[in-house]
Amino acid sequence: MKMNTHKKYNTEVTGAEAVILALLDEQVTDIFGYPGGAIMPVYDALYDYMDQLNHYLVRHEQGATHAAQGYSRVSGKTGVVLATSGPGATNLITGIADAQIDSTPMVCITGQVHSHLLGTDAFQETDVVGISMPVTKWNIQVTKAEDIAPALAKAFYIAGSGRPGPVLVDITKDAQFGKTTYKYQKCESIRSYFPCPKVKDDDVSKAAELINNAQRPYILCGHGVLLSGAEKQLLAFAEKADIPVASTLLGLSAFPPKHPLYVGYLGMHGNYGPNLLTNECDLLIAIGMRFDDRVTGNVSKYAKQAKVIHFEIDPSEVNKIIHADVAVLGDAKESLELLLPKVKTQKHTEWLKRFEDCTKIEFEKVIKDAVDPKTEKLRMAEVIDKFHKLSEGNAIVVTDVGQHQMITSRYYTPNIPNYFVTSGGLGTMGFGLPAAIGAKVALPNTQVVAVLGDGGFQMTIQELGTIMQSDIAVKIIVLNNNFLGMVRQWQQLFFDRRYSFTEMKNPDFIAIGYGYGIKGRKITERKDLQAALEEMYASKEAYLLEVVVENEENVFPMIKTGASVAEIILE
């Protein structure tokens, strides 16, 4: 029997049912969670709404947070997580921190001990509001049934507005059991909260003036472009003013990868030209990005010759790392719409040629060998390159963290916005598999491929159980080098090859997959690669492909710690 939330309006319900009704009033369709003592009333209420709310039972609460992140990153909707008190709540922290630093909207609902037990070290009591404070955009503890609906309304509004982020609502068990007359009023403003500054036309004009007078302007496109849905506006602006566009790790997919103005991706293992030429442009146009240290390298040697325009929704990001000559505060889409008519049609042929030259150098020195190696063992880049050609960039790719992540972001270029999901700011190993599950739940008709390393896979490998239980057709490629490869690379380069605890003795991954009812295949030779990728891609169900790769491969180019972007090395 399908119940409409409005039928429950002004009727008496338990606080637990109010939680479920509020989720329905927020048009939530999917939640990721794990039951336990203090959240049991909510789970009990959920039992009556299983036809309206799909709950995915994860195997560890961290998995729920990453799944909610993956869900949100590909759909734009706010991810929802349900967990119990104490260890259930503390297990959320890594995912919450990841969502905070990567601006991902997420609402976490935790159960809490009875309010009269707060502060008594009761069974499974933990101060999750205190613990999560530094890593949430907002959080609250609710101790009365009647406060649940307003708290959740605020939670969804805060999580999804402005620069998105995670929020946590901690609900005591007595509030869940308590009775309240259900009402739901969507939150549309909070007096003290200014999520989206109104774009000042004057600032846009100043930006346009700098752009119109620049000889070597250069656009850095970040996650904010995707969050704001400003891809078309960015394209129109870049084309009109003929400006090269590079992307941050989280901005990947915001600009069409085959477009002649797209020059590649930024950062420690990004492309050669985009890093090198940062120190040759005369105008840096940063859009929805925050000058992360992996992008800037040594800040004191970063783009000193250039003027900087910063388009940014979060005022605290302006001048945080790089001084902006002009800051345009507000939503990226709105700002770029205002900017377009003010910029002149230009040509920067010579400047673009510089990027083309760099691309050629990088191809000769790095890419050619990486995608078509002469080594006996397979290399990571050829796997990703072959997969990219097979999928034509039309699959959602979710990565874990490490060497395979950098290789995937270099060699897989998605055609569709938001089709690349990775843990950028926090660099959370274990993110990939559950995030891919969430992405597949959000867009079940799209191919979702998780690319993982052997290390990160084992951090959340238990989520294979979620795939099994809920029939989630995620494809998994494990690039297995039997090392914690990125740390090993650093040990090789900066710690005199002292491989301290980076070599992995790995289990039989395929057997583990079979244990969870997931079919799979392990390949070690080049001749099997194409067919194996095709088999994986064509599978209607989840599929685990393990590719054994070169043990001690390094990712290049690389900007060493403390070096400037111009000191990027190719080998």
Binding site: P134, Y157, G160, G162, E188, R191, S192, C196, S228, K320
Partner: protein, 184 residues
């Protein structure tokens, strides 16, 4: 170069918000020299007065991070010239100080302090002033033996004239927004 800054932070009344604000300092390894919190002239709006010693660049960034908190209405920072500030201090000295009554009374008077209470064993002196004046009295009283000393954090009034109510009206016009990020 580091300077002393006084921050005035106007907030909603919410459990845990003070913690959320102090975490911003802790995370950046900045010591809070004093902090006071009380309701402002507008009912339901609280004012934190926080004293720190940091560089101009740091204080600007801190204020940005504080203002980013959902329930913070506005944060300002001021150098000492922009504010009128006071602290209150209480000093407990042994009643034996009265054996040197003339000197004791002169010290209290010259420091513009007052005697709050006299008991058989002790005397409590109250002093309102800036940090320097409070320390001055402390040094003067030390010869009598200070049994207990406590001082409040700084409270400060800013010299620029803009009432909180005017400001609130402005922010109420600005806070309306819709959820704008992409959705499929």
């Amino acid at each position: 170069m580091d300077n002393t800054y006084t921050l005035s932070v106007f907030t909603e009344d919410k459990i845990g918000l003070l913690n959320r604000v102090t975490i911003i300092f802790t995370r950046r390894h900045i010591n809070i020299e004093s902090i006071t919190a009380s309701e402002s002239e507008v009912k339901g709006i609280y004012r934190y007065t926080i004293v720190i010693t940091v560089s101009q660049e740091q204080v600007e960034k801190l204020v940005g991070q504080i203002e980013k908190q959902v329930e913070v209405l506005k944060a300002f920072y001021h150098i000492n010239n922009d504010i009128l500030s006071r602290e209150i201090a209480l000093y407990k000295v042994s009643a034996e100080a009265l054996t040197e009554n003339e000197l004791f009374t002169r010290i209290v008077n010259e420091n513009h302090a007052k005697i709050l209470s006299i008991a058989s064993e002790y005397i409590v002196i109250e002093k309102t002033g800036d940090e320097r004046e409070i320390l001055h009295l402390f040094n003067d009283l030390e010869k009598f033996g200070i049994l207990e000393f406590v001082r409040s954090g700084r409270v400060a009034i800013t010299k620029p004239m803009k009432t909180l109510n005017t400001f609130l009206k402005e922010v109420e016009n600005n806070s309306k927004t819709v959820i704008k990020h992409f959705s499929k």
